[in-house]
């Protein structure tokens, strides 16, 4: 049973604070993804859990053991590095067995565990090779294999797919998901790629400037973002956010009260194109980007803003054509002046 508890965790490099107090509970067997723009502290937080960075303040528990001052190797965690960090002077087999050897695991058991891990990752044929003789995907698998052989309680992944090309990335993503299903261990995964986060995570932790913005399942984050930052970070293309004033009139005409909201968010995929003159918003198409299954429309609104619309191909408007835009009530996100979400959109009294 391996949960993780982070209590008001802080990290400073010199006088700059990079992790500004993080509280988080990771449940046993959960797949948690840390996501955020570069410099948000997600990697640092992972490295603090690994024991590669010391903890400036706060408490870190793995299971019920306080590990702030426990050496990395004694924390029961294994890490897959971004660059894989395979030892170039050791063959694949010795790379995987290295940690066991250091821990003085008997040779037969070492052998058995390496063989097991190699079999489960289809690495048997590569055991005698050196890292430089492997392709990117193979190296990635060896790095995972090395993490598996130690039977860690917690797996840590630091942007493990960012050095792979797009096709391989999709493939390895599914392999990692399968691995989690098979092993059932607690896993913490860092990425800046929101698709990776959405597809892999039980829960996503969105970080910005050393603080947690929101924690929740992928669906929660998508459907009920807690604030403007999360709303625009999750989802692609990103959410349109319009000043409340631009829709206030049309909404109240339908008997909806926008209340204290300052901004209204609408996901491009939730907006539909209707006849010019009708709909919640009016504007003119300025650009059409055909992407195959859908077309992305850039619509210049009357108020001067631009809205992105994902159009599925029916009744395609021409560039320059005036259109109306419509969106269902439940797909509108309201934000206050601080960028915090307000819910739900209330019927006017």
């Amino acid at each position: 049973m391996t949960s993780l508890t982070l209590r008001n965790l802080k990290k400073s490099f010199g006088s700059t604070e990079v992790i500004k107090g993080v509280d988080l509970q990771v449940h046993d067997g959960e797949f948690v993804v840390f996501v955020g723009p570069s410099g948000c502290g997600k990697s640092t937080l992972l490295r603090m859990i690994a024991g590669l960075e010391d903890i400036t303040a706060g408490e870190l528990y793995i299971g019920d053991r306080l590990v702030n001052e426990v050496q990395a190797a004694q924390r029961g965690v294994a890490m897959v590095f971004q660059s894989y960090a395979l030892y170039p002077h050791l063959a694949v087999k010795d790379n995987m067995a290295f940690g066991l050897k250091v821990r003085k695991v008997p040779a037969e058991e070492r052998e058995r565990r390496v063989q097991d891990a190699a079999a489960s990752l289809k690495l048997e044929a590569l055991l005698g090779r050196y890292p430089r003789e492997l392709s990117g995907g193979q190296r990635q698998r060896v790095a995972i294999g090395r993490a598996i052989v130690g039977n860690p309680q917690v797996f840590l992944f630091d942007e493990p797919l960012s050095n792979l090309d797009a096709e391989l990335r999709v493939h390895m993503r599914s392999e990692i998901a399968a691995l989690h299903k098979r092993l059932g261990n607690t896993m913490i995964y860092v990425t800046h790629d929101q698709i990776e986060a959405m597809t892999l995570a039980d829960r996503i932790v969105v970080l910005r400037e050393g603080r947690i913005e929101q924690v929740g399942s992928p669906r929660e984050l998508y459907e009920r973002p807690a604030n403007l930052f999360v709303a625009q970070f999750i989802g692609s293309p990103r959410m349109n956010v319009l000043p409340a004033a631009s829709v206030e009139k049309s909404l109240s005409a339908r008997g909806l009260d926008i209340g204290s909201a300052e901004g209204v968010g609408m996901r491009p995929e939730h907006i539909s194109v209707v006849e010019a003159g009708s709909g919640l918003l009016r504007g003119a198409v300025t650009l059409r980007e055909y992407t195959g299954a859908t077309t992305l429309l850039h619509v210049a609104l009357e108020g001067g803003e631009t809205a992105l619309v994902v159009h599925n191909g029916q009744n395609m408007p021409e560039a320059g054509e005036d259109v109306g835009l419509e969106i269902a009530r439940e797909h509108m996100h309201l934000f206050d002046s601080q960028g915090q979400a307000i819910r739900p959109l209330a019927r006017a009294g």
């Binding site: 010391d54 053991r65 001052e69 050496q71 190797a73 004694q74 924390r75 940690g99 039977n151 309680q153």
Partner: protein, 309 residues
Amino acid sequence: MADTLTDKTSARPWRAPRLSLRRREAIEAWLFVSPTVAGFLVFFLGPLLAVMYFSLTEWNLLTQEATFVGVKNYVDALSVNPDFWHVLRNSFVFAIGLVPLNMTLALTLALALSRPFRGVVFFRTVFFAPVVTSAVAWAIVWRFLLQGEAGAVNQLLASVGIDGPNWLREPDWAMVAVIVTRVIKMVGLNMILYIAALQAIPRDYEAAARLEGASNWQIFRMVIWPLLAPTTLVIFVITMIGSFKVFDHIYLMTGGGPENGTLVLAFYIYEQGFKFFNVGYASALAMIMFVIVLVLTVIQMTLRRKDMR
């Protein structure tokens, strides 16, 4: 499932207070550097402070005791003892003769050998060979070659009708001889440094200059030479310092003679300290050498900093 990643002992409820990871790293680091630090203190910093002190004392050979005499040794060197200025002059003549000759030759050879052609490895190997040879062996052989009439060099000169001087017995020629043979011994090192620097210059610069119609000389003068400036500065200082500490070469080729014509600072320190046991005076000379080297180093550092800006 065996839990190899968890240290069972540290999972016990009570632990002795342990060092923070940071503290631990610092202690380990000092353990790593401790042999170096100990050696540095005992064989460098200690002696450096000692030589400062020694330079203010006079050593009595019979009683083996040091008496404090203040700056007397420095006064002796700078104004009383006529040898000192002579020696310093020799050291500067040696350096001023050696450094430009060495650097010009090194750069010329490097320019010729920085591009691949058939034979380039052969020539690099040849020009570098004296560098790996012991200075003692080099000096012995050249002393043999440069003997008065019987020496191979003079016999070679005689065969084309030149009456060569007795190289190592005439003060001026002796200086020329030690400088030239030292340059041949050491030029390979600077040549290699210049070759490395030349090969690090992107070929595009030269190509661009050539497209604009620059001649070889213009390319060298306006593109290559400015880009080599940091290397030239380093080589200049290294060679300069090296020429001030030259000892074995002179000890074996001329023994400082003739008529002290090649008596340079390093040799003078050795002679005063270990032949005449003027420990205080020799220490003052060592301090003067220290200051000269220090000034050269500081000049290099300031120029380099300016260069970076």
